[in-house]
Point group: C2
Chain length 494, copies 2
């Protein structure tokens, strides 16, 4: 009876999550420009309701009573994960949650206006408001969880991950990359000297790119009966597992960035679509966290989508939809292009972690108070110069204003991108050990075995363990950056 009570509890929360998720997608894709204020109020109200219901003081009693009942193994795991989630949620009073939601939404709306103009001064007060709130939040979470403030924030996104483990891994990776990047660029230059780069530029109507994207999504396993592809300013994968809302943005002067973006979001979408249906409304049935989620998107984008074997299958599709003819020799240099650039979402496999580590370092400084928002453009610039040799001081739009994360209040989220890249490489290595023919299968467009492994080892596991536990169960070892480093050496090291 108490387990049934918890089941109803999760179902009610599921209805509010569904609403918040679809409203969030709708805001980015369909909302009228003047609808923002009322939408912010509505989402703040629903978020407050969610928080009040999720933190219902009866939940601990129901959990205790359920544990006294005869439960299956799955039910026990579900109750444990619900308790973990409850403890994380009760860190914050509902008043704070509403305030954060409202501040975050307004600041995000301001960001959408100020960013195209690169108007840092117009945006700065909003970000200051968010940072002040995040300091409060980190302190409250840290106290309850007995974790360091930054770890307490990360715990929401990746249960079990700790900065004490991540910082040395990132330091090692950064040291490797700062050394490796000039080497990779030199290799690229030599290759281009032998085989000149055929420009990607051309005229690619959005409709053709969209039909190519849809074909590619379906080829790698996306179920169009339970999802769709739209356009938004910042690509994302939202919606609900039964109706995954992927978005992308198109340029009409080249097709590769939208296509790789679609492959990336498809990786997120596959994870959501293949979570265990029976537990969809329980915390244990949801995707584990952002790092594992990102490992799924990067698996499709990088391990599959930038694998030369994949292009033997993909190139005819590209040609058919875009009505062009590309050779692998002409396309791969674009797929494997390495560039020192300002923009994280446009970055390549080699430089991307440098963008992330920069944010990981800066957001810890912002939270601790060692850095203030007014000094952010200079701090950002200094790190960009040190790791990528680029200045963004005169270009805040493509400096600290480029991402939606901070304006919307998502601190502790950025490391997940690079943790995801490390985990994706580790998962690929595990698959390749089991199945040495994986490249041959992929070159035929056969993703059966790859998807079956991921379904059994990642997707169906949902949140039945912590992030490090699921990774270790799946791959037989703890997080090991050697796989990612070896992957970069093999693909870019010459």
């Amino acid at each position: 009876m108490s387990f049934a009570k918890l089941d109803d509890h999760c179902r009610a929360l599921g209805a509010l999550e569904h609403a918040l998720s679809i409203l969030g997608t709708d805001e980015a894709v369909n909302m009228a420009p003047g609808g923002g204020e009322a939408r912010a109020e509505a989402m703040a109200g629903l978020s407050g309701m969610y928080h009040r219901q999720a933190t219902d003081p009866h939940v601990p009693d129901w959990i205790a009573a359920a544990r006294a009942e005869e439960l299956t193994q799955e039910q026990r795991v579900a109750v444990d994960e619900l308790e973990r989630s409850y403890v994380n949620l009760t860190c914050l009073p509902p008043e704070f949650v509403e305030r954060k939601m409202r501040t975050g939404m307004r600041s995000e709306q301001l960001w959408r206006t100020a960013r195209p103009k690169g108007d840092w001064e117009a945006f700065r007060p909003a970000l200051e408001g968010v940072v002040a709130l995040m300091r409060e939040e980190a302190a409250m979470r840290a106290e309850v969880l007995g974790l360091a403030p930054y770890d307490a924030l990360m715990e929401q996104f990746d249960p079990g991950n700790r900065s004490a483990d991540i910082t040395p891994v990132f330091a090692e990776l950064k040291a490797f990359l700062v050394d490796f990047l000039p080497r990779a660029l030199a290799v690229q230059e030599q290759r281009r000297a032998r085989h000149p780069l055929k420009p990607l530029s051309g005229d690619y109507p959005v409709e053709r790119q969209k039909s190519l994207g849809l074909a590619m999504m379906q080829a790698v396993g996306f179920d169009m009966n339970h999802g769709s592809l739209s356009v938004s300013d910042h690509p994302f994968c939202g919606g609900v597992p039964t109706d995954v809302r992927m978005t992308t943005r198109y340029r009409t002067d080249e097709f590769l960035s939208a296509l790789m973006g679609i492959l990336h979001e498809t990786g997120h979408g596959l994870y959501e679509q293949n979570l265990p249906k029976a537990w969809a409304h329980w915390p244990s049935g949801k995707a584990r966290g952002m790092a594992l989620h990102e490992s799924q998107s990067l698996f499709v984008e990088k391990q599959i989508g930038r694998n030369p074997a994949f292009w033997h299958f993909a190139l005819p599709l590209v040609d058919a939809h875009l009505k062009e003819s590309w050779t692998i020799e002409d396309l791969l240099p674009h797929v494997h292009q390495v560039t020192r650039g300002k923009i994280r979402v446009d970055a390549d496999e080699v430089t991307y972690p440098l963008h992330v580590i920069l944010r990981y370092e800066l957001e810890q400084e912002l939270l601790s108070g060692r850095l203030e928002v007014r000094d952010l453009p200079e701090a950002w610039d200094a790190k960009m110069q040190a790791s990528l040799g680029i200045s963004t001081l005169d270009d805040p739009k493509n400096g600290p204003m480029q991402d939606v994360h901070w304006p919307s209040g998502a601190f502790g989220y950025f490391p997940s991108y690079t943790l995801g890249a490390l985990m994706a490489a580790q998962q690929w290595a595990a698959i390749a050990r089991l199945n040495p023919d994986v490249d041959a299968e992929i070159s035929k467009g056969d993703f059966t075995m790859v998807n079956a492994w991921r379904r059994d080892n990642i997707w169906l596991k949902a949140s039945t363990g912590s992030t490090p536990e699921i990774l270790e169960q799946a791959t037989g070892e703890a997080l090991n950056p050697a796989h990612f480093i070896a992957h970069l050496e093999a693909r870019y090291g010459g």
Copy 2:
């Protein structure tokens, strides 16, 4: 303090209404085919939450306490309307509301599948389930409100309207129309003999029709900063006042049906966009009801949009967007076309009320149990033959399966369409009395005075009185079908 408590109460309900409204629009416009079941569960859950909060047993105490405070006139009206709304909502237990929501959504989804195939037998059990629920609901409402069962259903849509008043008006109108229709058709035939009909058929790309529709929406006053136009199977006007979601459907072989549909939904949209902002979350600040709402859409579609004066202004816009050249003499016969047809939404001003009165009569019989769903196709056919001389017996898709209302559980709603037509004609007559130059203004595309009158007399009144009260305050008289009958005589009587 108690008024402030009620204000918070309305604000929380507003958040749930916002979610339900956007989710409803999203379902029709953007949802993936396989997303229906989870969406139905989520909306049932939110609807149950809404009902539980709206029927909070503390509300009567808060209302009593608020009335003991010093209130403005606006606040007193707001409290009165909240109480009316509370009484209507407490007719039904939350368990019933959730069951109705779930049954209605599933039956609507089944309707969406069965209707294109005209599969009456597949659809029938779903409709039977809905009718059984509606009988329960009408009985529960009738008991609490002290009204007849059918009146108790109508009370949700049009407070103050009673079948005892409507039935004789509809009987008179039906008698007039059954006599008038052959006369109007004969007049039409004579006109066509003098001036042969130029076919509407052609090739009209959706994009051009959409740009024409958007131009027309803006011309008559729709604010694109607070709304948008999409495509759905069944045109509607949804969303929220700050973000009105209009939809239409396009045929590419003619442009008039989509255009007139857009004008119709624009009328709904103008009402929503111009409701009083300060009271948006209170029942008194919402649109009064379906009949008045329909009077606003029919005002734009029929009183403005089929007025010959309007086409002096509109035709150049049509020509510019569709890249064609029409004369008024060639287009008006289409705008004023009268046809005996099967489909309500395609019907003209003259025949439309006959479609509505048929449904008004049948739904009363279904609710009272004098008619069962299995006998509906025959009953429908008999009435179609008697009033329009058409049989639908072999074509259930265009007979009793054509509308979304019954499958989604909206009984007592249909009369609003024709009440709206009567009220629109009465409002137009009131405006023409005040401003004899109204036709000249409209022929110049100047809707200033017409919209100012409607803003002051209808839109800003919101729900500060019952439907008959608002109509009488606006036009100086009670509902008077003579205006509509005179309007039809003048436009179609030769």
